[in-house]
Symmetry: C2
Subunit: 409 residues, 2 copies
């Protein structure tokens, strides 16, 4: 993309009065390595399992068209005007009702609308993390949470995650000595691992949280995308107001609208509202009203059913292809929902280096180490199965199989 102007040299990397003005906090900001990888992954002919994108061919575009037209025709002045920081009332009510169906008893005042869950993570960091505070996450964990929180300078204690979710004995050892501000947990179809916290561990988690008085942040972007097995109760149902629950429309509707929500006790919602007011006043009124209109039309149930069918097929196709093409010594998780799968290679393989060979062979993934707060996990990688078409999955996994066989020797 070339700029048609400027007519003369412009604001490139010239020396300015700003140059020595960056603050210490900037040192804690790093670009997601995923973003750098995505640049390569977008090269022609590369089959990418690197991103975390939903399948765009499933987006309910027609429903968005209808909702946009309806909202603007019937309530256009409201949709384009400033609105409350807390969020659009009718959408908060609909979400409270929705949460009620999962056994979470809340009212609209327990809900804050955010610009995707990422903003919820930032606001929580802003409201709870003092420099030096200990926070507990999985090891690995969602990269966006690490990015959001690092600027607030916590000490992050990572707890190993296995095929049954976060390891509870390791968690208890940490709680005994570390007095963390909170535990951050992704119970369903964990990003990056795809694993789900078992019911037994959920009960143990809540028992430990109560014993040590440690509150929890439950991040649940994929909970509704279970295509196999049985739903398990959210942590917030088991431990109620000691849990702040996050979810989003990104995976059940569309990520490009940037709309998520927080469920929390009222006094916490009030603090988060103050924090949000200073950061962007409120989330787009138009986007909230369009989304409310779509929710009201009652299409979400049928729509998520369709997403689950497609993602389930793609996950199945991917694991079947892996069984065929991946060499001995390589193992992987078998997610029952969500968007991601986790691969472990033999210890001597460095998946950061493996990515270079993979890109040369026109296939891309995310090295697992970027999801580890302590930058370990070098022999792991994350694959996304939601975005690629079936033929691409088959061909991409065959390519990755060749790369792995060559590396393992």
């Amino acid at each position: 993309m070339e700029a048609k102007f400027p007519p003369e040299p412009v604001m490139t990397d010239v020396t300015t009065a700003w140059d020595d003005k960056f603050c210490d906090r900037c040192k804690m900001m790093s670009s997601s390595i995923i973003r750098e990888i995505l640049k390569f992954a977008q090269m022609p002919d590369v089959i990418s399992f690197a991103g975390g994108l939903p399948a765009p061919e499933l987006f309910p575009i027609r429903e968005f068209e209808e909702a946009c037209a309806h909202v603007l025709k019937t309530d256009g002045q409201r949709a384009l005007q400033y609105s409350m920081t807390e969020g659009y009332g009718p959408l908060k009510e609909a979400l409270a009702e929705r949460m009620g169906k999962y056994g979470v008893t809340t009212g609209p005042n327990n809900i804050l609308l955010t610009n995707g869950s990422q903003q919820a993570l930032d606001l929580l960091g802003r409201v709870f993390i003092d420099p030096g505070d200990v926070i507990v996450t999985g090891k690995p964990t969602y990269l966006g949470a690490l990015q959001a929180w690092k600027v607030y300078r916590p000490r992050i204690v990572g707890i190993p995650v296995d095929d049954e979710g976060m390891q509870m004995d390791a968690l208890e050892a940490a709680l005994k000595t570390e007095n963390p501000k909170f535990i951050y947990i992704l119970p369903n179809f964990h990003n990056p691992m795809g694993v789900t916290l078992t019911l037994e561990r959920r009960k143990k988690l809540v028992e430990l949280a109560a014993k040590y008085g440690t509150p929890l942040i439950e991040d649940d972007p994929y909970g509704e995308l279970r295509f196999e097995g049985k739903d398990l109760p959210p942590i917030v149902v088991l431990h109620r107001e000691n849990v702040i629950y996050l979810s989003t429309f990104s995976k059940i509707l569309a990520p490009g609208i940037r709309l998520g929500w927080v469920v929390a006790p009222e006094n916490i919602v009030r603090k988060l509202v103050l924090a949000k007011q200073g950061t962007d006043l409120h989330t787009s009124t138009l986007i909230q009203m369009i989304t409310h209109d779509i929710v009201k039309r009652g299409i979400l149930k049928a729509h998520t059913k369709e997403i689950k069918r497609v993602y389930g097929e793609r996950r199945h196709l991917m694991t079947t292809s892996m069984e065929e093409h991946f060499p001995e010594g390589v193992t992987w998780t078998k997610p029952e929902g969500g968007l991601f799968m986790w691969v472990r290679t033999p210890e001597h393989i460095n998946c950061m280096e493996l990515l270079e060979t993979a890109i040369e062979n026109k296939v891309a993934f995310v090295p697992g180490t970027v999801f580890y707060p302590d930058e370990t996990g070098l022999n792991t990688l994350r694959l996304n199965f939601s975005n690629a078409q079936p033929d691409k999955i088959i061909e991409g996994i065959a390519r990755l199989g060749r790369v792995l066989r060559e590396a393992i020797g």
Copy 2:
């Protein structure tokens, strides 16, 4: 708004494991007093000059409908998918071109799209302000900037603003001794005062900024809403890459979409992008593409002309009514654009107390003191002239005149 459930007591103000977990930063967060005032201002029969809302009857609703339909029909998958943190490329190009017309020579890489200018203010604080840093603002200044920056704990040095804008002798005195990180300036139709920095002072400002090596943040939400007099060159034209320039679609299109932009040297844009990535990944793709579609349709010029006509008439009606109804000893600014006007009462009047009497008399304003970093300015108040219909302006000013006459005695 009553919740239909909960079936049992829910997350209200119960004791939870979160209660002692709020961080020190929270102490710096306060709700905008304006928001509290707006609650009273929204009572039936109250004529409010308190908010900062555009006239909703001027929103180009039909153009939004057309743009929504066109974007979703022609490029729906892109509009609903994740996108780049920097913003939608074609909109950045259009904005760079637009800036070029004002004499600001930039390319798309100098532009970052934000969730309204408020997010730009937050990101700038996040990237530049270390605790204890001095920053210079007007006294009074935009309340949202104070709210955005206080959490980063700067020491704010306020420079008096008169009818010609920020006072340059006071600014120089501060620059001599304080070594501030930056100067924050609202040159056109200042919020809350409505005043415009004269050309002479603009030149002096740039001379001082160069002399002391202090960079500038130029906040220009209202620059295109001049209904009288002649446009003056933006500070960024006079001092180029030492100035970070902010603007927004809130006042020329609609605030409910939450879309603003930053113009800055590339290395600063890159830092702001990192900061934004951690806070919300990116701004709504759909909103950016809809806005780009509207910009491309070329309606903005005719649309801002209409806004200026209406606001100019309302400002004129308001000052004419004030001349008729306000008692001696009360003075006011005569803005040549924007949304706000500033009233000074005799020294012994406390406009915070005056507001109570005003609400009793069914008229509302914002006490000026809330815009002062040092909480002085008790004998001032802000009036909005963009939102109220002409008959309300006449009646509201008559009511406020009675309240003022009674208070002054």
